[in-house]
Amino acid sequence: MDFELMINSFPRLLSATIITLKLLSMSLFFGLFIGLFFAVMRMSKNIIINKFAYGYSYVFRGTPLLVQIFIIYFGFGQIEFIRNSILWVILKEPYWCAIIAFALNTGAYTSEILRSAFQTIKKGYIEAGKSLGISSKIIFYKIQIPIAIKQSLPAYGNEIILMLKGTSLASTVTLMDLTGVAKYIISTTFKPIEVFIVAGSIYLFMTFLIHNLIKFLERRYNY
């Protein structure tokens, strides 16, 4: 074990963690909107809208994230039509390709989490509100939303942790995130165990923080 290498590589890995966190927060931010949008579509009575949203989540949950990021990065880059379009401004950058892939992927999972949270709200709660003469708008904001948040928190916390680990795939499209820099250090020192232990510990620590944040929120929303 080369402890000196572990200590020396730590600051470099830590600064790469900023890229990882940026990727995570950006994709979660966009993913939440995508998820909410598709969750609402999934609850629609219109069969076309419903099936479209179902198809989206089916495709993105049914294929590996690595394949999705490769299609968006290397695949789209091969198509002349896309390269000549305005889209290329965004798709040219590995950073945005990664965020698009991550957001679409987490969006699919988030839509399922939110849909099931809304659907598990017992009819009785809503009827209780109605019998008290509360308007349906207030029922939505004061009864349905808080219950849905509480219901979806454990599953969404899991999704954040999965997404954190998923960001390591950004290194496959040339981004220097935590995994990318770890691989870079290994390529010059030829010592994978030491460097991956440090990188793994940083991931573990971030997971620890996310886990506790979710636990804290779960307690807060526990009535």
Binding site: F74, G77, T174, F190, P192
Partner: protein, 283 residues
């Protein structure tokens, strides 16, 4: 014991045994993604200059061989962890690598070059045809200066952990915006897509790609050799330690050096090199 239990136990047992059986077959690690040095044909079979050379060298050594595939960025760690015995993967002999592993004498050498897509502003760079960084001199310095200003503000793509990456990060051509890829194929794809302004690799890697894909990839600037580009490509072997395993590693180095001598004398290396490179890249 019923047959089902027996099967499960033997399958589980084999999982542990396979990793440990010490077969006296020489295992050769290669990447299979760096044509014409080593690559795969449509059916997934390993082919290329080094694959054919490996079989020839094994014949001279008089031992059975097995060629194993390994991703480039894990090549040296995999050798050190004894996943295979030697590396034959277009790996140049450099001082940096010699700190960690041994190399046999070189068996082939090939120059590196920058490449761009046709129509790039880098075309027609005014430099000598080839520069040798070990020789140095005023013309080399002048050429490096020209390259430095040509590369300024450009995204330069290379495969990770290569002599080409080392050169770009050595400071010889100033501070370059380097982007690294896992394989040369990916470098080629992004050069063609326009994400890379310019790429650096073995010249033959680009000409091979241009020929096979029909994409207008053109070589620019001088060809590079010496210095960070190393002293030819050799067989990478673990540094012999103590004990029987260490002795085996030392013997491997000796055997490969002898086999390369024989293959060179009999004209095998230059024959195989000419077949795959289109010119005699042997040394």
């Amino acid at each position: 014991m019923n047959i089902f239990k027996k099967t499960i136990i033997s399958v589980l047992a084999s999982l542990f045994i396979i990793g440990n059986v010490y077969a006296d077959k020489i295992k050769i690690g290669t990447e299979g993604a760096y044509p014409p040095w080593n690559s795969k044909d449509a059916s997934g079979k390993l082919i290329g200059f080094e694959v054919e050379l490996a079989w020839t060298l094994c014949r001279y050594i008089g031992q059975q061989c097995e060629i194993v595939e390994q991703d480039w960025d894990g090549m040296i760690p995999a050798l050190l962890m004894r996943k295979f015995d030697v590396i034959m993967a277009g790996m140049s002999i450099t001082d940096e690598r010699l700190k960690v592993i041994n190399f046999s004498q070189g068996y082939a050498d090939e120059v590196a070059s920058l490449a761009v897509m046709k129509g790039s502003s880098l075309e027609g760079m005014n430099t000598p045809e080839g520069i040798n960084l070990t020789l140095g001199g005023s013309s080399v310095k002048k050429a490096l200066k020209t390259i430095e200003s040509a590369l300024a503000g450009k995204t330069v793509c290379v495969q990770t952990a290569t002599i080409h990456q080392n050169f770009l990060e050595s400071g010889d051509v100033g501070s370059v915006n380097v982007r690294t890829y896992k394989t040369q194929d990916e470098v080629n794809l992004d050069l063609a897509s326009g994400r890379c302004d310019v790429a650096l690799a073995a010249a033959v890697a680009f000409t091979d790609y241009a020929e096979k894909s029909g994409k207008p990839v053109v070589l620019v600037g001088p060809t590079f050799s010496g210095g960070a580009f190393g002293n030819g490509v050799g067989v990478g072997i673990r540094k012999g330690g103590s004990g029987a395993i260490g002795e085996r590693d030392a013997k491997l180095l000796n055997d490969f050096n002898k086999a390369i001598n024989l293959a060179r004398k009999n004209g095998d290396i230059s024959r195989i090199a000419t077949k795959w490179f289109g010119f005699d890249a042997s040394m």
